[in-house]
Amino acid sequence: MRQCKDIAEEASNYINGDLPFAERMGLFFHLVLCKCCRNYLQQMRQTISTLSLAKPREQDATDTNALAKQLHDLCHKHD
C-alpha cells in the first residue's frame, strides 16, 4: 500500500504522467483514500501553473541589443 511519503516523492512524475501503470494505480488508490495527499497534489499543480504564469527568468545583465548587433555584424562579415 502506498503512503503519503510516496505521493510527496512521486508527485511530479504522477503529474507529468511519467509512471508505469501499476505504480500510477498504486498512488491513485492512496489518493482516493487520503484527502491530505489530494490537497498536496492540487497544491503542486497550482505551483506549476503559478510558475508558468510568473515566468521567472535567469538573472542576466547582458545587453541583448548590443549582442544582437555584434552577431549581425559578424554575420555580414562572413558575407
Binding site: K5, A11, N39, T47, I48, S52, R57, D60, A68
Partner: protein
Amino acid sequence: MKKNEQQLIQQLISGDQQAFTLVVSEYHTIMLSVARAIAGNVFADDVVQDAWISAIKALPKFEGRSSLKTWLLHIVSNGAKTRVRRENRSISLDDGWQSVAADKFDQRGHRFDDVFEWDIATPEALLANTQLQAIIEDAFQQLPAMQRAALTMYDLEGIKMADICNILDISSSNARVLLHRARTTIHHCIEQHQDNN
C-alpha cells in the same frame, strides 16, 4: 520546423537586424541557464557568447530537424561540456539541495500534519500578491543551477524530457529528480507564505 521559424532563419541568414534582436532576446536567457548548469557561473557568459558565434556561423547548415531553440541549446550544451572538460571541473547534481519533506512524515510514511487546500486557489490570484511574487522569484533564483535549468526547460519552455536529458547530459531519472526538487522548493515557499497569511 514551423513556417514562422523557417522564415526567421531565412531572415537571420540574409542579415535582418530585427531578426537578430528577436532571436537573442528570446533565447539568450535560457542559453545562459544551460551554460550555468553545466559549466558554472564563472564560465557561463563566455560559453554562451561562443555558442552564439558558432550558431550564427552554422546557421546556413541548420536542417530544422529540431526547433531553433533546441538546436541552440545543444550548441551551448556542447560548448559548456567542452569547457568543463578543459577546466577539469564537475558540477554536483545535488548542489544546494535541502530536503524539506523528510520531517513531515512518520516512520510509516504518513503525514504528521494535515494538508489543506490553499485559500487563494488560482495562479492569477496567487500572483496578484506582490510579496508572494517576490518570494517565488527569489526562491527560483536561489535554486541550484541544474534544478533551475531543468525547471525552466520543462515547466517554462515546454522542452521534452528527452531533449533536457541530452542538453544537460544527465539520465532521465536524474532530470526528473531535479525537476521535482525544484518544484518542491517553490511549493514549499508558497506553502509557507499561505500558512503565514
